[in-house]
């Protein structure tokens, strides 16, 4: 799901979170490296292709049973090549997402471990009004559940509001909102963060220097995120603001509420993306119908986008092979997909990272990349950060949650390859993460501690 970190005016208003995972890949892509799905994917592919009216045939082994004899040889050869590339790039996409998620988590964990500020309890957000300092367990549980309900309803309201705005084409309003929130994130939160880090390491910095640094950081960030900028810089900025937001959450959400919220939000994510009337799904579909990219400030894109100018000569060169794909692509899930063949070919010619254009009306070619919403980053980091902050088993628990989240991400991407439409990225990872957190903290920790004290090895 696309996740969206919108911080409006006050620090206490968290944003509207939507999380989704969208793939920019072409439909007839067989599943990735995991052979379990190969046969189903192959079958699904076969059906989909037949439905789409194209005359290609999937050439995988699950296919020995597929006997579509209308396949022109040229296209099947092309397709084999594509599948091969797809497979290689399948694993590559997963890694392209692993790296930023890992980086974000590392930043959050490092900060939590070193800077005291983020683990002190200094009050709560207005969205979680019920305090958790109550004497009885039942009361505490009740309070956290109430907090969660409030938080989730706030998120739902904001999401629906955003979708309505999008539907009725109030783009200016949305852009203004996004700009305002990223402005606040970039400047205010960075100022606080920098202040705390400097305090921790006892480094003195005078106000003019601070002003200069933050101004530069913020200005470049605004330009990078909302306008053009080198892809890696944009990715770095998105990672940083996700980390900042996650830190804010970790600080201001009370203990039990945080866990319940994590659970509730993955359920919400599941429903919002998969239910036909879910707001996120409607957003994605509307964006695809209009062939517009979703706002760049909401999504982390691992792909490189070609500018339209550069794409044209490529298009001309590969004209004939594009036709059947276009026909199949019209109603497909992602508006960038029509040029997957081209993009695959382009990949073979050492893709050149060009500047990302914020909103293009036409279909541009793009190296197949996966998009992950920023809220996914944020919640993964919140999980791992909370594990680092509150677990008494320290690093073991953090490590376990980290691996669990990565595996969840892997599985989600696998499902993405199978289902070929926007999927919620939160549920599987967060579920694994939660399971591993609680079990590692309570079960594994005493075991490992006892082993370590006797210096036994398993």
């Amino acid at each position: 799901m696309i996740t969206f970190m919108n911080n409006s005016d006050s620090e206490e208003e968290p944003c509207n979170e939507r999380t989704s995972l969208m793939s920019a890949e072409s439909p007839p892509v067989p599943s990735y490296q995991d052979g379990r799905q190969a046969s189903e994917a192959g079958e699904a592919q076969a059906h989909r292709k037949r439905r789409a009216g194209s005359s290609r045939s999937p050439n995988n082994a699950a296919g020995g049973e597929h006997t579509d004899s209308r396949v022109p040889v040229r296209e099947s050869a092309l397709e084999n090549e594509e599948e091969e590339l797809t497979l290689k790039y399948g694993a590559k996409h997963v890694i392209m997402l692993f790296v930023p998620v890992t980086l974000c988590m590392i930043v959050v964990v490092a900060t939590i471990k070193s800077v005291r500020f983020y683990t002190e309890k200094n009050g709560q957000l207005i969205y979680t009004p019920f305090s958790e300092d109550t004497p009885s367990v039942g009361q505490r549980l009740l309070n956290s559940v109430l907090n969660t309900i409030i938080m989730i309803s706030v998120i739902i309201v904001m999401t629906v509001f955003l979708v309505l705005l999008y539907k009725y084409r109030c783009y200016k309003f949305i852009h203004g909102w996004l700009i305002l929130s990223s402005l606040m994130l970039l400047f205010l939160f960075t100022y606080i963060y920098l202040g705390e880090v400097l305090k921790t390491y006892n480094v003195a910095m005078d106000y003019p220097t601070l002003f200069l640094v933050i101004w530069n950081f913020g200005a470049v960030g605004m330009i990078c995120i909302h306008w053009k900028g080198p892809l890696q810089l944009q990715q770095a900025y998105l990672i940083m603001i996700s980390a900042l937001m996650a830190l804010v959450f970790i600080k201001y959400l009370p203990e039990w509420s945080a866990w319940v919220i994590l659970g509730a939000i993955s359920i919400y994510d599941l429903m919002a993306v998969l239910c036909p009337k879910g707001p996120l799904r409607m957003l994605v579909e509307t964006a695809q119908e209009r062939n517009e990219p979703i706002f760049p400030a909401l999504i982390y894109s691992s792909a490189m986008m070609w500018t339209v100018g550069m794409a044209k000569p490529d298009t001309a060169a590969r004209g004939p092979s594009q036709q059947p794909w276009d026909a199949a692509e019209d109603g497909k899930e992602h508006h960038r997909s029509p040029s997957h063949t081209d993009s695959q070919m382009s990949e073979m010619r050492s893709p050149v990272p060009t500047r990302q254009v914020a909103s293009l009306e036409e279909l541009e070619e793009e190296e197949r990349g996966v998009k992950l919403g920023l809220g996914d980053f944020i919640f993964y980091s919140v999980l791992v950060g909370k594990a680092a902050a509150t677990a008494s088993g320290d690093w073991n628990t953090t490590l376990a949650c980290f691996v669990a989240i990565l595996i969840g991400l892997c599985l989600t991407l696998l499902l993405l390859a199978v289902f070929k439409k926007a999927l919620p990225a939160l549920p599987i990872s967060i579920t694994f993460g939660l399971i591993f957190y609680f079990s590692t903290d309570n079960l594994v920790r005493p075991f490992m501690d006892t082993l370590a004290s006797h210096q036994l090895y398993i």
Partner: protein, 231 residues
């Protein structure tokens, strides 16, 4: 060294990274289950009885070893299916990664995870103030832990190769040899703090496993000589 292994051999290929993380995950799950069993056993027993606790601990360790090997087997099965899928999907009928490479990567995954879990709290504490062995324990605690962890990581790697090879060629004795070796190494760690008893056998076993895995992977004394002399 294990991290160096990772950097040089695995970080290039994304498929290997995924297999690595999945291997680490499987080890983690096995650890989880074994600690669950141990926890239940401890809770169900008398916490004041020292001997019983120690016995339970030993039981826990052995059980964990067996579970780890069981999970290695499961992982092997999974990777077999994955290879079939990969072969099916690739255009020239051979998969982009061979089962031996997978075995190696799986072994490294297991090893890294187990090493991380063994060492990382130690490292974190080592950063802080304190004296080693202040209560009459050995002063070499950190050093020996480091060495032991390293040997265990390497052993896991080699065991991965041996295990998968045994499963491939249906040589049950290889598999049992791996299990026995693992049990021996864990058992030898019971001799701690008499470090001679645990480190030396472990290193010997590691050398043996290394040689065995090397031979299995198609190496030979000649290859080794050629490599060393940079021909």
């Amino acid at each position: 060294p294990a991290f160096g292994l990772f950097l040089f051999t695995i970080a290039r290929d994304p498929l290997r990274i995924i297999i690595l993380i999945a291997g680490a995950f499987f080890w983690l799950v096995s650890l989880l289950l074994s600690s669950l069993i141990w926890f239940i056993a401890v809770k169900a027993s008398d916490p004041r009885d020292e001997q019983l606790q120690k016995g339970l601990l030993i039981f826990g360790v052995m059980f964990s070893v067996l579970l780890q090997e069981a999970f290695r087997f499961l992982y092997y099965k999974l990777l077999r299916k994955a290879i079939e899928g990969l072969v099916a999907l690739s255009e020239d009928g051979c998969s982009p990664i061979s089962i031996q490479q997978m075995a190696y990567v799986a072994g490294v995954g297991f090893g890294l995870m187990s090493g991380a879990f063994s060492m990382i709290n130690l490292l974190a504490d080592a950063l802080g103030p304190g004296t080693v062995g202040i209560h009459g324990d050995s002063q070499l605690y950190f050093l020996t832990s480091a060495f032991m962890t390293m040997v265990l990581i390497f052993l896991h790697t080699f065991w991965g190769i041996l295990f998968f090879h045994g499963c491939e060629h249906r040589r049950w004795w290889e598999i049992t040899a791996v299990v026995v070796m693992h049990l021996t190494v864990s058992g030898s760690s019971f001799c701690n703090p008499l470090y001679v008893g645990s480190l030396v056998p472990s290193y010997l076993l590691m050398a043996a496993a290394a040689a065995w895995a090397y031979l299995l992977s198609g190496g030979s004394a000649q290859n080794l000589r050629r490599f060393l002399l940079c021909k």
